[in-house]
Symmetry: C2
Subunit: 225 residues, 2 copies
């Protein structure tokens, strides 16, 4: 009887269309200004400002002032994770409209979830990494010795990542697939490295597109023989 309101206050924040738009706009992990978010949400500046104040007060967002601008970002990957879970639920329960545009297909194929790879490619990555014995475990996904060697070879400074506060590996449920993909510091580093290598390019919004070279490299590296 007592825990209902606890979740209700959070859920109510996600339950307003304007705020939901703001949050989904931030799901790619970037920080956006108030004006940008107002446009994304389809409301005026004042209205957006009000919503952002509430989301900030609830610690779902963090604000950062830079000159005349104020940048907002999600306060953590777990916020994005809850949003993805809600999308999944909305999909199963049929609340979602049937959107089969090309943009949607692109999103399902590969997209950013906060700061790491999600979609078919993201799930494929984690699945392959497990099959090859690079990664082990269930939720507290851990790196095997073989995995450490592999990712170091791939160009990732694991020691640096481990100095940070953020967990190295983290499983994150994918809304379009129904499996996990790899989040955490390693997931983020992997995506940056892929972008660096020219394997993948950021499109508009959350869309990621793999280059030809990227597809080949991806498969050669993670799905050998």
């Amino acid at each position: 009887m007592k825990e209902g309101p606890v979740i209700a206050s959070v859920a109510a924040l996600l339950g307003d269309p304007a705020r939901a738009n703001i949050l989904t706009a931030l799901m790619d992990g970037r920080a956006l200004t108030v004006s940008e978010l107002a446009e994304a949400a389809g409301v005026t500046l004042q209205t957006a400002s009000g919503h952002l104040a509430k989301l900030d007060a609830a610690n779902l967002l963090t604000a950062e002032k830079q000159g005349r601008h104020r940048y907002f970002r999600l306060s953590g990957p777990d916020v994005a994770q809850v949003l993805e879970a809600l999308m999944g639920l909305a999909q199963r329960t049929g609340a979602t409209r049937v959107r089969t545009g090309p943009r949607d297909a692109a999103l399902r194929s590969a997209r950013i979830c906060y700061d790491h790879l999600a979609g078919e490619r993201g799930v494929a990555l984690l699945t392959a990494a497990r099959r090859q014995g690079l990664i082990d475990g269930d939720k507290d996904v851990t790196l095997t010795a073989k995995g450490r060697a592999f990712f170091t070879e791939f160009g990732i400074d694991l020691a640096a990542l481990e100095r940070g506060r953020r967990p190295l590996c983290r499983a994150c449920l994918d809304w379009s697939e129904r499996h996990n993909h790899l989040g955490g510091a390693l997931g983020a580093a992997l995506l940056s490295r892929m972008i660096e290598r020219g394997w993948v390019r950021r499109g508009t919004g959350r869309v990621l597109t793999f280059t030809c070279e990227g597809k080949e490299g991806f498969e050669a590296a993670f799905i050998p023989s």
Copy 2:
């Protein structure tokens, strides 16, 4: 810009205190009548009826008529999973009040999540099972050959479970711990079997209490030597 409202409609349903109370009351997987839910939510019968109609229309609940009564239950484990995720988020962001009563401690120790074991014990179970090589994998958790033998020995009819539609193993994120516990048909069967064996008893609400015998048996079976 388009997916915001999709999640908003679901989130808005969870965002009303009365409805959130109803849903958390159902998180133990049991089916409850309208009157019981009205009392749990602290509203009158008419009000609850209205809320239930909405939740039903959104496919978050399923209704079942039995004589003069109408029983509602969650439409699936994923609903409970989203609720747990929201509780976790609420906790991290500080929306939750500090509840450190004995009931809360009991809940953290062991509780029902829809129909399987959650809390410290639930996480310990999955962790131990992985360590012993009974279970393998990340999200699509799978049973190893060793695991099949073990759980059959434990008194679970795996073949019967596999005839059902429900996935055998499923990882479910725990809100109090920050790890996964075991859901799915196997998770449910395990809990029933533990209750059958007198290892664990249902308390009020979602609380589960391990008997002395249960603690010993649990540790002997899952955390040997």
